[in-house]
């Protein structure tokens, strides 16, 4: 049975429907990441779970208990805010102990609990300081300590890393992940950063304009995006979308690319049987790492097609080089080894690995 359940949740703010019927289930100990562009309703959803926003309709169920009408403090959930929301007039210790104090926990128990939480987060030496004397990363840890000390049923994180610099973000991200692994806490985490979503989640929910686009494991979301929006949103650089046309039928069917009858590729194995018909326009989605130089092409891959194309631009990242090339008036991005030398203007031979390609209907945007 799922631990956290959201059933047909709707939320109207004024005349705008911000959440349009959300259904999500999360098992105990799961790490759910809500991801989407700004304005997709992910923070609204988190606030609704926290009880900080009243629902228009629908149910939120935690551990079999409908919590719709419970006050935030009675839902037994803790939240880490984007701005950390530490009480500026209290020391770190008082900040962490505040929730326990409000619940009438005796003083010595409070002190012991604070100690345990501080030890977990390695902030024992900061307990007597005030929030204004802490760095961003330290404040982040104190905010997590404040949530941790209560041992709540569900943790909510509202873009907790967005105020940190790039290096610290990676560090704290790893800390959150190991915290989850060690405590087996149930976590709902909001972010607009698809890398955070991929690295942390056991389950990702992609939201757009108040509707769920796809729910799945990070691998499912990445490899088998349900529609064009998810495909485009997850992954950086974005997935290549190549115009194609189905030629042939049945087992003979192939997809011609770039409006050129001479360049054809086999139908990828991800496509459902009988989904394609002859002459149909399709979009072939290929991640940049599926288009490589011929030397890097996966030897295990069952269908690799080599295509030559003129190079428009190269972007070396150190570990590998992103090459933008053009064919049939359309640009696509490939990920090659850093050692491969090619420059803008060269004609380069690319290896297209079709194993992981996905095919979309350009009209509905859905994966076929």
């Amino acid at each position: 049975m799922s631990f956290l359940e959201i059933r047909n949740l709707r939320k109207k703010i004024g005349n705008v429907e911000v959440l349009k019927g959300i259904d999500i289930e999360l098992e105990k100990g799961g790490f759910l990441v809500l991801v989407g562009p700004s304005g997709c309703g992910k923070s609204t959803l988190l606030n609704a779970i926290a009880g900080l926003l009243p629902l228009t309709s629908g149910d939120i169920v935690i551990d079999g208990q409908v919590v719709n009408d419970l006050h935030p403090s009675q839902r037994d959930i803790a939240m880490v805010f984007q701005s950390y929301a530490l009480y500026p007039n209290m020391t770190v210790e008082e900040n962490i102990a505040f929730a326990l104090e409000m619940r009438g926990v005796p003083k010595d128990e409070r002190a012991a609990a604070v100690k345990v939480a501080a030890k977990t987060l390695q902030i024992e030496h900061l307990l007597t300081r005030r929030p204004s004397q802490l760095s961003g990363g330290q404040r982040q840890r104190v905010a997590m300590g404040r949530a941790l000390v209560r041992k709540p049923r569900v943790f909510l994180f509202d873009e907790p890393l967005s105020n940190l610099d790039a290096k610290l973000r990676v560090e704290v991200r790893a800390e959150i992940k190991s915290l989850h692994q060690n405590t087996h806490a149930t976590i709902v985490y909001v972010t607009h950063d698809q890398i955070e979503a991929m690295t942390l989640a056991t389950k990702i929910v992609v939201l757009k304009e108040g509707t769920v686009q796809q729910i799945g494991t990070p691998a499912e979301i990445y490899n088998l995006p349900a529609n064009l929006f998810v495909a485009d949103f997850m992954g950086s650089p974005a997935m290549n979308m190549l115009d194609g046309k189905v030629v042939g039928t049945g087992a003979e069917a192939r997809i011609s690319l770039f409006g050129d009858q001479s360049i054809t590729v086999p139908v990828p194995p991800t496509v459902a049987a009988g989904a394609l018909s002859e002459g149909q326009s399709v979009l072939l989605g290929l991640r940049p790492e599926a288009i490589t130089d011929t030397g890097l092409a996966d030897p295990q891959a069952r269908s690799v097609t080599q295509i030559e194309a003129p190079v428009i631009m190269t972007e070396p990242t150190g570990s590998d080089t992103f090459v933008t090339a053009e064919l049939g008036g359309k640009h696509f991005t490939a990920r090659t080894r850093a050692e491969v030398s090619c420059q803008a203007g060269d004609t380069f031979r690319f290896a297209f690995n079709l194993d992981k390609a996905v095919v979309f209907d350009p009209q509905s945007g859905l994966r076929l």
């Binding site: 935030p72 803790a78 939240m79 500026p88 007039n89 929730a99 409000m102």
Partner: protein, 294 residues
Amino acid sequence: MSGAVQETVSGGSAKTARVVIYGLLILLAAIYLLPLYVMLTTSLKSLDEIRGGDMLSLPSSPSIAAWTKAWGEACIGVTCTGIKGYFWNSIKMVVPAVIISTLLGALNGYVLTKWRFPGHKIIFGMMLFACFIPFQAVLIPMARMLGMMGIANTTTGLVFVHVIYGLGFTTLFFRNYYEAFPDELIKAAMMDGAGFFRIFWRILLPTSGPIIVVTVIYQFTNIWNDFLFGVSFSSGGSSPMTVALNNLVASSTGVKEYNVDMAAAVFAALPTLFVYIVAGRYFVRGLMAGAVKG
């Protein structure tokens, strides 16, 4: 900014500019402080010396006889017990009035920013309107109300009047201060299990130092210096300091004792002076607090 100016101006003219600036500042300060000087010196002189005519001269033989007389013996109307009773009247009026109006203003500001309800803008607008109603316009309705409540001619009545009249200002101060206070802190406290008043006492008020100082100074000065409400809503022994001072100066039995009048005036000004000197630097800091993002 000033550094850049100094670099472009040659050494000599920069110095001249400084001299002019400081000279002007000192001159204006002197003009501004002159009345205080006259008050203090006159209060220390004897009546004969005052009649001698030189207002600006220093007292030849300073004496605090006028001060003790003003405090304990001067005649106000027909009672000759000095101004001390009225001084305490004022203290008894100003302290509760300032505390109550500041606390209520803080509470109003808290509700108007963090517990918004439909129509909160209209309510705030109406409270702001209170800041612009002239004293004179409310005198008669207020007198009627105090009479109905049975607190006419009492210090309690004056406290009530000043609290009501001050609420518009204190609410404005606190609302604007709390507007910039992050909502997430309130949400976090709610999730931690703190209720309405707990959040107010434990989170909001302890972080309101600067605006409390501003409000207290503003309210203290206004209420202490108020004359119109004092003269309208009190009589005889319950009058505040300002009214008593007027009566002292106005009621002359024979010789006009300027030194006693001046000493009494200094007494009347002392508390506000004290508040400014003690809390003045917080006043400026508090006014600036919202202006710069910290």
